[in-house]
Symmetry: C2
Subunit: 414 residues, 2 copies
């Protein structure tokens, strides 16, 4: 199973390079299924056309429109393969049997049939599948939303019990930090599903969260690598047996500047207020990320949460209304924030990581606005202007720069 | 039933104009089904991409690629309709139930189901259908070849017993001659299917021959009109009852410079030679148009025929081979030819049209190389350089310039 993103098939020359690589893989005795995204800016161009003709974008028609991008890619790749003597056949999401629910623009896969795919593989063919799309139980064309092509690839890999799902992209793997911010960032050789999930969850763009969840649930090994250099990249898979003592405790630092913060002041501290705030947000499909509630003081508390900037307008309207209904003091928002996360499976057994993180940030005069943690992750919200400084200083402090990763916590200072 | 060609949906502004017109038609109490072509140069751009990635163009993948063009148009048109409050739904050839045979890139329609289409109309929706495409009996995406969107529109109009199939294009109707050659050419108010068939058959580009045949066979009235001016155009329909005495005998002059001429000299005049020549051409899918065989002299004859310039290379190879096999004298070809045709239902009852045509051409020193006739058409092949002169002089001589059409033949001179 190989998946090629938009930059990997951005132009005819890139498509021909992909065809060569597919041919190479096929000729080494592998059955190959290829999932493709739309070429480069195709999806953006289609969106732009949609905006020019209409301010209303019915989901069904958006799906009809956007699915053409992947179909163009897959037909062109099959032609390029035919040109170099590889017997290839393209299949739409519908033809390959990716059955989804009926929620247009972000459908969920309910079943993968794959009969036609298996039959074609049985005939020795390479199958090229349009990513990002399926057919609903109502027989309508649907799309899988963000990261949909990754999800297509992983779902098919699971259905076919593929040895590996290779995700080809424009970077050479998953890095210990964004190399644009931290030039010394290292490519990670391997990550557990858990770590990759946390990294995707806190803003790493390399893999879509959903596809990683799917891969973990079906135990599909992922190999994230570059279609420009073809070098080995980062493996994401189940860690079997004991973890290696030499494995780094921290795998990476991830930043995310795509969210805004909303704070509701002086919320009466009584049962049901949280539900009153977050239920309408959920109903409006606002993706609430971090939620922090301070300890109550004099019967009132402050509640802050982060949402994607795109959901900000809807969120603010709802929260302003609810704030009045529940008798809260008021609502403020801040768009100039960034979330910084440390992720590492070793955190489970190494206490003090969070404390060290906070100290490093304090030493660099980075003020922490919000904190949230999981067993293998610590995330903080800081001012957007401090983001790069925070990422760089954490990367250095946790020994990720050197190549010999940070492997044991320093004794806590009192 | 309304069909919009590529220039009618070439850009977002044109699509919005089409949406307004569809809304207008709908609000006047009509059920509306719209068939769209790909936007402007979309198909050319997709072809260019195909050429860049591959020199082999498997039919199945070409169909997969090219059908995306119409899907983009239809989704955008539905969005534009939604924007102005019209409930519209797009359907692919597959969804609308256009079942074809399995011949990729030029499939033939074997059945039109239309259940989903009727259901949507029943709910008061406008249905926007992707032209040019269907789904084969093998469940593969197919395209209908040249003029495919016209054929889609006519086939659906027939299946739905539509009142009219309006073909919107970039010209205001069918003209008595190509206005680029004959500025005085008149727009024809109405034509019979027979006349339109002959005009399409001899090179008029306004309607695809296949769609006219389909319309005649299923008695679907066509209205060819402009999506730029929205004025009434040319009706093509069954002429009921007696023809009107005032109807012009000649409807139009059509030129076609897209063919080449092949001549085989000194063909032994014995049974089977024609089959020996034309069977292999048919097997190679060469579209032979006019065929002229001279009266035999001394046991030998010359056979000339015309083929599309695109088929010329294949045709010449075959004919050169066959010519040796049957012991003919040799083969020549001429690409600088044009076919000029006079078409008019009144010819049936007006003798002498052909003779007058030949005289007009002779007076203008246009040499005639080949002649072929049907009951309502006379076609001649002349040198390409004489084409415009021939068209203009015939247009004038048959009274098409003036607005008062030629209505009776002059007495034949002896």
């Amino acid at each position: 199973m190989q998946k090629y993103g938009g930059t990997s098939v951005a132009d005819p020359d890139r498509i021909k390079a992909v065809a060569e690589h597919v041919a190479f893989t096929k000729r080494h005795g592998n059955d190959v299924v290829v999932v493709v995204s739309a070429m480069g800016k195709t999806t953006d161009n289609l969106m732009s056309l949609a905006n020019q003709v209409s301010s209303t974008h019915p989901g069904r028609e958006m799906d009809m429109l956007l699915t053409t991008g992947e179909r163009i890619s897959m037909a062109l790749l099959c032609m390029a393969l035919a040109d170099i003597g590889v017997d290839a056949v393209s299949m739409t999401g519908s033809q390959v049997g990716i059955i989804t629910d009926t929620v247009h623009t972000k459908a969920k896969i309910v079943e993968v049939k794959g009969d036609r795919l298996r039959e074609a593989l049985g005939h020795g063919r390479v199958v090229v599948v349009a990513g990002f799309q399926g057919v609903s139980t109502d027989k309508e064309i649907t799309t899988l939303g963000r990261g949909g092509s990754d999800t297509t690839a992983v779902a098919l890999a699971a259905a076919l019990s593929a040895d590996v799902c290779e995700i080809y992209t424009d970077v050479t793997g998953v890095f210990s930090a964004d190399p644009r911010i931290v030039p010394q960032a290292r490519k990670l050789q391997h990550l557990s599903f858990e770590e990759m999930l946390e990294m995707a969850g806190v803003g790493s763009k390399v893999l879509a969260l959903r596809s990683v969840e799917f891969a973990r649930n079906h135990n599909v090994p992922l190999h994230v690598r570059s279609s420009f250099t073809w070098e080995h990249g980062t493996w994401v898979r189940n860690v079997e047996g004991e973890s290696n003592m030499e494995d780094p405790i921290i795998s990476g630092v991830v930043q995310d500047a795509s969210e805004s913060k909303v704070t509701i002041f002086a919320v009466p501290d009584r049962p049901g207020v949280s539900a009153a705030i977050f239920e309408p947000l959920a109903n409006a499909n606002v993706n609430v990320d971090m939620i922090v509630q301070n300890t109550s003081r004099e019967g009132h508390t402050d509640i802050s949460f982060t949402v994607p900037k795109a959901d900000m307008k809807v969120a603010e309207e709802i929260v302003t209304r609810v704030s009045k209904e529940i008798g809260a003091g008021g609502v403020t928002h801040d768009t100039d924030i960034a979330k910084i996360s440390l992720v590492g499976a070793g955190m489970k057994t190494s206490p003090g990581i969070a404390a060290k993180m906070f100290r490093v940030l304090a030493e660099n005069e980075v003020n922490i606005q919000m904190i949230s943690t999981s067993t293998i992750r610590v995330s903080v919200v800081v001012a957007l202007g401090k983001m790069e400084l925070a990422v760089r200083s954490l990367h250095t402090a946790f020994g990720l720069d050197s190549g010999s990763a940070y492997s044991a916590p320093l004794p806590e200072r009192k």
